[in-house]
């Protein structure tokens, strides 16, 4: 069926026939000659935004961002997790506490260090050790057998024995 037969009304057909096509609208001289230049200028002067506007690039960038965020979160989460004691040797623990003793509170220290450990802990970078007191030291008072003759003699001199103070007794 001829498309032109769609115009059924004779009057309008006549009217439209009298109206010439494509001669009513004009364009500036040489407009179509410079058209491609304008398109090239827009395409090549803004290549970054072109790439970003490509749907496949957007998907790639979004996917990459999601993976990066997940990796960061997982890494950060693991970093903050307390390590199991079995994963660290006694020496590693001691080295850690020695280096960071100022930053650790007493409560935290007590959580980790047992009473038995106290006997051999090396504090900071000194070579001093805190010897563990013998239980008998605290229970029995010292007797004469614990002191040498020189210590006894020195003590008696300090107390004024031989200077006449003791003669009056």
């Amino acid at each position: 069926m001829d498309d032109k037969k769609d115009i059924e009304d004779d009057a309008i057909r006549e009217f439209i026939k009298n109206s010439s096509k494509n001669k009513d609208f004009k364009v500036p001289d040489g407009y179509f000659d410079g058209f491609q230049k304008n398109i090239h200028a827009r395409i090549y002067n803004n290549p970054k935004s072109n790439r970003w506007n490509l749907p496949q690039f957007r998907w790639f960038a979004t996917g990459f961002a999601c993976i990066a965020v997940t990796v960061i979160l997982v890494f950060d989460f693991n970093k903050n997790l307390p390590l199991a004691e079995s994963e660290l040797s006694q020496e590693e623990l001691l080295a850690y506490f020695s280096e960071n003793i100022d930053e650790i509170s007493e409560t935290e220290l007590l959580d980790v260090v047992t009473e038995q450990d106290i006997g051999g802990i090396v504090l900071n970078d000194t070579t001093k050790t805190i010897p563990r007191k013998k239980e008998e030291d605290t229970e029995k008072p010292p007797s004469l057998e614990d002191f040498t003759d020189e210590e006894i003699f020195e003590y008696m001199l300090d107390e004024g024995y031989g200077t006449g103070e003791w003669d009056n007794l």
């Binding site: 498309d3 769609d6 115009i7 059924e8 009304d9 009057a11 309008i12 009217f15 439209i16 009298n18 109206s19 010439s20 096509k21 494509n22 001669k23 009513d24 609208f25 004009k26 364009v27 500036p28 407009y31 179509f32 058209f35 491609q36 304008n38 398109i39 827009r42 395409i43 072109n50 506007n53 490509l54 749907p55 496949q56």
Partner: protein, 180 residues
């Protein structure tokens, strides 16, 4: 002049894509411009939309798989851009349809690049009273002399409904002209 198939072949090859795009513009720039111009009336606006259309075509060349005709695909982008512009114009200024028609009609009379005679101006003014899609169909059929089958593919409607739309458009134009 290169055929559509030859142009598609060029744009699908990475080595000749730029050349293929230039051929595509050579072939379609004028037809695309006129479809847009008859919808938006003003030359500067039509120029902007025509440029946007070809920039969009360039950006999406990789996604063109050849399922539809190249010309259909380009016209579809152009008509969508034109209709989007007209809808935005209405929304931005909260204009009712009648005011848009009035504004386009004023723009037509003051346009330096419009030199239609009395009959042509009358027809254009009558066309501006039509709903956008009917005007688009009429312009493509009457001025661009496209086949109903091609217009139907561009607008993604059936040929039957397109013919009905065209028939209604003609009837309305007749009424507008008689009443004027």
């Amino acid at each position: 002049m290169f055929t559509e198939e030859e142009i598609i072949e060029k744009i699908q090859d990475k080595k000749t894509v730029n050349y293929g795009f230039n051929l595509l513009m050579d072939k379609y720039q004028e037809q695309v411009y006129w479809v847009i111009r008859r919808m938006v009336i003003d030359h500067d606006v039509a120029d902007d939309i025509a440029q946007d259309t070809f920039v969009k075509v360039w950006k999406n060349l990789s996604s063109f798989k050849g399922d539809a005709k190249l010309s259909t695909w380009i016209y579809r982008i152009a008509t969508n851009e034109s209709l989007t512009y007209l809808r935005k114009k209405k929304r931005r200024f909260f204009l009712p349809i009648g005011d848009v028609e009035h504004e386009l009609s004023s723009s037509l009379e003051s346009d330096h690049y419009y030199s239609g005679d009395e009959i042509q101006l009358k027809l254009q003014k009558a066309l501006l009273k039509l709903p956008e899609k009917q005007r688009l169909v009429f312009n493509m059929k009457y001025f661009e002399e496209m086949k109903f089958k091609d217009i139907a593919e561009i607008l993604d409607v059936s040929v039957g409904s397109l013919k009905a739309q065209y028939h209604h458009a003609v009837k309305k134009i007749e009424k507008f002209v008689k009443d004027d």
